[in-house]
């Protein structure tokens, strides 16, 4: 079981927990504002953009090339951006905080 916190652009904060699937699915299931996941997680829509805390970025890892290409053309991209459809819910992310980009 992993517990994570999403901080939204309207400064809301939501703690959610899950043990499987993607971080995008977890966010959508809990109605996290700014995470739409329109494409259902196939890395086509970029509606699940988050910022990872710098200290946690290495644990989560760099995006693959396709995700990286998507992010490069997002107006709100930052150094520690990820699309959360490409992050698995696991113990690796337990306790982390993610800021929703949109």
């Amino acid at each position: 079981m992993a517990k994570v916190i999403f901080v939204t652009q309207n400064n809301g904060s939501m703690e959610v927990e899950g043990d499987s699937g993607s971080l995008m699915e977890l966010a959508v299931a809990n109605g996290v504002a700014g995470i739409d996941g329109d494409c259902g997680g196939v890395c086509s829509c970029a509606t699940c953009h988050i910022y990872v805390e710098p200290a946690d970025f290495e644990k989560i890892g760099q995006p693959e090339e396709i995700e990286s290409d998507m992010l490069q053309l997002d107006d709100n991209v930052r150094e520690f951006s990820r699309l959360c459809c490409q992050i698995e819910v696991s113990e690796v992310i337990d306790g982390m905080t993610f800021v929703v980009a949109n």
């Binding site: 329109d38 494409c39 259902g40 196939v42 890395c43 086509s44 998507m70 053309l73």
Partner: protein, 396 residues
């Protein structure tokens, strides 16, 4: 006894040679030539660069075939660039995300169930005119939040809003839509009384809305409504019809979805990639520039060729195969960046629920006859859908 038709599920990549050799194709359109960008990365870059590749040109010019000769109203937010685009999009996004609501999905399911039940009770039917068009039209009443009986008017217009048998651009036919929308806005304006949010239709929402502190003009409301009607018509009809065509020759895939419904979303995204229901969209170039080392002149047109980008072998492994196990699928069937498809949530929801219901209720799809819709785009011939697809469905 029916004649077995084969090959209806095949949608060949019309652009492969040109994409792999130069990355650019050429076509003429009413004496306004177009340089077609064919590779996925180049398409995405150009789609994102709205300063150089503009949507806010003369109304109708970014559409292919150009609608300059038949339309003066600017479609909104589609033909508006940032920064003005942002306010319109922020106004419209919540409305067009409503298909994510459970209550919307329940109503959509009723429409899909009735459509499939009618198809199963017929000996045979034309999927384009008798299945996809009614389904698209009835689903549009949900998107607009208008009474379901409005759909019959839209069904009576026929498959295409701008096209007739004789012409790809029929001004008389387009005027039917424009006059209808004018009348509907006037009607909503007269009846514009305070009511529950759940009872408001899109016309009323727009009449009462402000963008950047200003009320929308009637012309702006008309621009949003024309986009909503026209943008989601041929595209959704193609997507539905092509889906039925695909499963008619790949029933094992439909059976797999019934057995493994968790792959349904991936399956729909893959079908949308493979079909690319909208082949391309244009932009007008604002300054002399270059794409794939080809010089592009200011005030000329380019196209973002979604259909070619979706088969880019540099991005997609075995791009001409439908693969429901494709977990990463960065297709651009709904466009990309600021101008990505406003109706994508609605279109996706229709297809997800349709495919799952077909998987649960349909045993077989036999094609009786097929007339493919082939677009001729300069040197390229591309199958985008069907003019007619007569099938016989059998129930589980």
């Amino acid at each position: 006894m029916t004649t077995k038709i084969s090959g209806v599920s095949q949608f060949n990549d019309a652009f492969a040679t040109q994409r792999t050799t130069s990355g650019i194709g050429q076509m003429d359109d009413q004496n306004d030539p177009i340089s077609m960008i064919l590779g996925l990365k180049e398409v995405r870059k150009a789609a994102h660069n709205c300063a150089t590749f503009q949507s806010g040109a003369k109304p109708g010019r970014i559409v292919i075939p150009s609608e300059v000769a038949i339309r003066e109203t600017r479609q909104i937010p589609f033909e508006v660039d940032p920064p003005e685009h942002k306010g319109f999009r922020e106004l419209l996004n919540p409305w067009f995300k409503r298909p994510q609501d459970k209550s919307y999905q329940i109503k959509l399911q009723q429409i899909i169930d009735i459509t499939i039940a009618q198809a199963l009770s017929a000996d045979s039917l034309d999927i384009v005119a008798d299945f996809a068009l009614p389904l698209q039209s009835k689903a549009l009443t949900l998107l607009l939040n208008t009474p379901m009986d409005n759909a019959q008017t839209w069904i009576d217009w026929g498959t295409h809003v701008f096209r007739s048998e004789s012409s790809h651009l029929d001004a008389n036919k387009a005027n039917i839509l424009y006059d209808y929308i004018d009348a509907e806005i006037d009607k909503a304006s007269i009846n514009n009384q305070p009511c529950e949010a759940s009872e408001q239709d899109l016309y009323t929402v727009l009449l009462n809305a402000e963008v950047d502190g200003k009320k929308l003009t009637k012309e702006q409301i008309k621009g949003v409504m024309i986009l909503t009607f026209a943008g989601g018509r041929d595209t959704v009809i193609n997507a539905i019809t092509n889906t039925l065509a695909y499963f008619s020759e790949n029933m094992d895939d439909l059976k797999r979805i019934a057995a493994e419904p968790n792959i349904n979303n991936r399956a729909v995204e893959e079908l949308i990639r493979y079909f690319s229901p909208l082949t391309q969209m244009g932009r007008v170039v604002t300054e002399d520039t270059a794409v794939c080392e080809h010089a592009i002149k200011a005030d000329s047109r380019i196209s973002l060729c979604w259909a070619s980008a979706n088969r880019d072998e540099n991005v997609f492994s075995h791009p001409n195969t439908v693969d429901f196990d494709r977990k990463v699928n960065p297709h651009v069937s709904f466009g990309f960046s600021h101008h990505n498809c406003l109706g994508a949530t609605h279109a996706r929801q229709i297809l997800r629920q349709l495919v799952l219901t077909l998987a649960n209720k349909v045993n077989d799809i036999d094609v009786v006859s097929a007339d493919e819709n082939i677009e001729q785009l300069g040197e390229f011939s591309r199958k985008v859908g069907f003019n007619r697809l007569v099938v016989s469905l059998s129930a589980k």
